[in-house]
């Protein structure tokens, strides 16, 4: 029997057609809790090559050739980082895999840990060999219970197969991995704060230098790599640094995993070659904006990043291009916003997040973010003034320049980028006391479109404030005095009769 329309192949589905899988190549193809599945594809093939055929210097050379840059946010060249640690004096060295994925709205690391745990382990053993470390620490978010469990299963299996432990494959290289659970502090993504946390202290950053490669955990030279970075390593060693460097742009090579979420039809993780345009990611892969709404911006790089407007959609994703646009690559979060997302509210959201996560050690970050948040709260609640806007613009660069670590150093980005591209929205909030996107509660009212209302009583029942009047089959009305603006009526209406004005 011939099917009238055969099942489409993966590459025929638009969501997958433009993707190029390196880090996620095993996703869904293996049972992550079975080491044999990983081995059956190409797992643990790079390990003997690295341990038995290559010197640490040669491995570092290959990674340098690949021009791989750290995927955790800062984009420092991985090969150079390894070389610094390799050359640092000291017998005892450590490797940390930073799996404390903290940016809200992103889940690349979680997916790699859960779907392909052995790729991370293999990358760690190779990295350990390259820098001369016999100990590895896997620092995982405690909010990721499945990832924690799968990594532990993978470690046990790799040890049983002699791929982890002492004298791996008779190479003389020994490597052990200890799992440490993060305590849910965003600032611990910062290297020196992470080290403090590993040592059992509160995760507060300290000034650099000394860099972790010189003095890290317990004072020993330490390399900290992100999950995605380490998961690239086996593929780079198997296929060569030149192969990896053949993908991407001038300064950003290889592929990058993005977490494509928000107001976009196809949400999920997307892996594309560096240099792919945002338009391709949001519209061709993501399928555009749902419900016929208009695209407004894409927020890249989490709380340290910025909002990129429609005019820059053809921008190629690349570390430098995103930074130039006022955003950052970060660890790969792309949050799509449509016309119903308020940019002032988004800026306020990120500041609120950073205000809570600031460790409080340095004043510019602790007090500066607090003040900026106060100003933005005034804007969203209809108390904003032009003088405050000027103060905000004065304060933002100061927080950026004067903060001790990258948390404060990038905290102004969401404010500065929205001010740069969406100044009209700020003006509407301040001068007209109006939220054009219909988000800021103090500036909106809910009204029922009597022409559309069928009088079905659904919203009346949903209203927690008993603010809706009107009988069966009679147009309903919202009493603005009683309305708490929770939006329950709008959500429950089947006829799109509740409007925001």
């Amino acid at each position: 029997m011939i099917l009238a329309s055969p099942l489409p192949r993966l590459e025929d589905v638009p969501f997958f057609a433009h993707q190029r899988l390196v880090v996620m190549r095993h996703r869904g193809r293996i049972d992550p809790e079975r080491i044999d599945d990983y081995i059956a594809l190409d797992g643990y093939e790079a390990l003997p090559k690295a341990l038995l055929e290559m010197t640490p210097e040669k491995i570092i050379g290959e990674v340098k050739t690949s021009l791989l840059r750290g995927r955790g946010g800062a984009g420092f060249p991985t090969g150079v980082k390894w070389e610094l640690c390799r050359k640092a004096p000291g017998e005892r060295k450590l490797l940390i895999c930073n799996a404390d994925e903290g940016d809200p709205g992103e889940f690349m690391d979680r997916s790699v840990l859960e779907a392909d745990p052995h790729a991370v382990l293999e990358g760690m053993v190779i990295a350990g060999h390259a820098i001369g470390a016999g100990e590895g620490i896997l620092y995982v978010r405690d909010e990721y219970p499945l990832a924690l469990r799968r990594m532990q299963v993978a470690i046990d299996q790799a040890e049983a197969y002699g791929l982890l432990g002492s004298d791996i494959l008779g190479s003389g290289h020994s490597f052990r991995i200890r799992v440490i659970r993060g305590g849910g502090a965003f600032v611990c993504g910062e290297e020196t704060a992470l080290i403090a946390s590993v040592e059992g202290r509160a995760g507060r950053p300290s000034p650099r230098p000394p860099f972790p490669a010189q003095r890290g955990v317990w004072g020993f030279p330490t390399t900290i790599n992100n999950v995605e970075t380490l998961a690239c390593i086996p593929a780079i060693l198997l296929r060569g640094g030149a192969w990896y460097a053949s993908m991407g742009t001038e300064t950003s090579k290889g592929t990058k995993v993005f977490s494509l979420v928000g107001k976009v039809k196809n949400t999920g993780l997307v892996e594309v070659p560096m240099g792919t345009s945002l338009r391709r990611i949001v519209f061709d892969i993501g399928g555009g904006i749902p419900d016929g709404k208009r695209f407004k911006a894409v927020q890249s790089g989490g709380p340290s990043g910025g909002c990129i407007p429609e005019g820059l959609l053809d921008l190629p994703v690349d570390y430098e291009a995103l930074t130039k646009a006022g955003a950052i690559m970060g660890s790969g979060g792309l949050i799509v916003m449509d016309e119903t997302s308020c940019m002032v509210d988004v800026a306020r959201y990120f500041l609120g997040f950073l205000m809570e996560e600031s460790c409080g050690k340095c004043t510019p970050c602790r007090e500066g973010i607090l003040r900026m948040h106060e100003i933005l709260t005034d804007f969203t609640e209809g108390r904003g003034t032009e003088a405050q806007l000027a103060l905000l613009e004065e304060l933002a660069p100061v927080v950026k320049d004067a903060s001790l670590c990258a948390l404060g150093g990038t905290a102004s980005n969401p404010v500065l980028s929205t001010l740069r591209y969406f100044r009209d929205e700020y003006k509407a909030h301040i001068l007209d006391r109006r939220c054009p996107a219909g988000v800021c509660r103090s500036l909106i009212t809910y009204v029922i479109d009597e022409g559309r209302c069928t009088g079905c009583m659904v919203c009346r029942r949903a209203c927690p404030a008993e603010a809706i009047s009107g009988g069966k089959r009679k147009p309903h009305r919202i009493d603005p005095e009683r309305c708490v603006k929770c939006g329950a009526c709008r959500e429950s209406c089947n006829f799109d009769a509740v409007r925001v004005a």
Binding site: Y144, G183, A462, C486, A488
Partner: protein, 150 residues
């Protein structure tokens, strides 16, 4: 709180000062929060000032010094959940349960806490109850979810 079990936890981490965060995590897993008595015992046995244990317990967000209800409701306020209305879900939950964020309901049934991203942003807005994830939440749906828990 069972002092002997706490000692077992401390032993598992070699009574080491560097293991205090892990001890607190294990203690919280058993007790669902951190009783002050537990913090005192850890300080004593590990040999560090109680103030240091307290500082760790208050620095890291995942620790709670207040008793928690039988079920922990975490409303995700990550970025994707925020733009898809996570804040309104939080308002609905706290309004329906009549308890503010971070507090336990008087009947001991729930504690509601905000969480900054649980890493399944494709399903936003998300609410987790204990270890179960509920995606695509609306004010209406979340009320139905809470009814399933006693």
């Amino acid at each position: 709180m069972d002092a002997e079990r706490l000692d077992g936890i401390m032993r598992r981490h070699d009574y080491a000062p560097s293991g205090v965060i892990a001890m607190l995590q294990d203690l919280q897993r058993e007790e669902r929060y951190l009783p002050l008595e537990g913090l005192r015992l850890i300080a004593e046995r590990v040999g560090i000032p109680a103030s240091r244990v307290y500082s760790l317990a208050t620095f890291y967000r995942s620790f709670s010094l207040k008793p928690r209800g039988r079920h922990l409701v975490s409303v995700c306020l990550g970025t994707a959940c925020h733009v898809r209305g996570g804040g309104r879900i939080m308002d609905k939950v706290t309004r329906d349960l009549g308890t503010p964020q971070g507090e336990m309901t008087p009947d001991g049934r729930f504690t509601v806490e905000p969480v900054r991203c649980v890493g399944c942003c494709g399903l936003a807005p998300v609410v987790t109850v204990d270890e179960t994830f509920y995606g695509g939440m609306t004010q209406q749906k979340v009320a139905g979810v809470l009814r399933r828990y006693e």
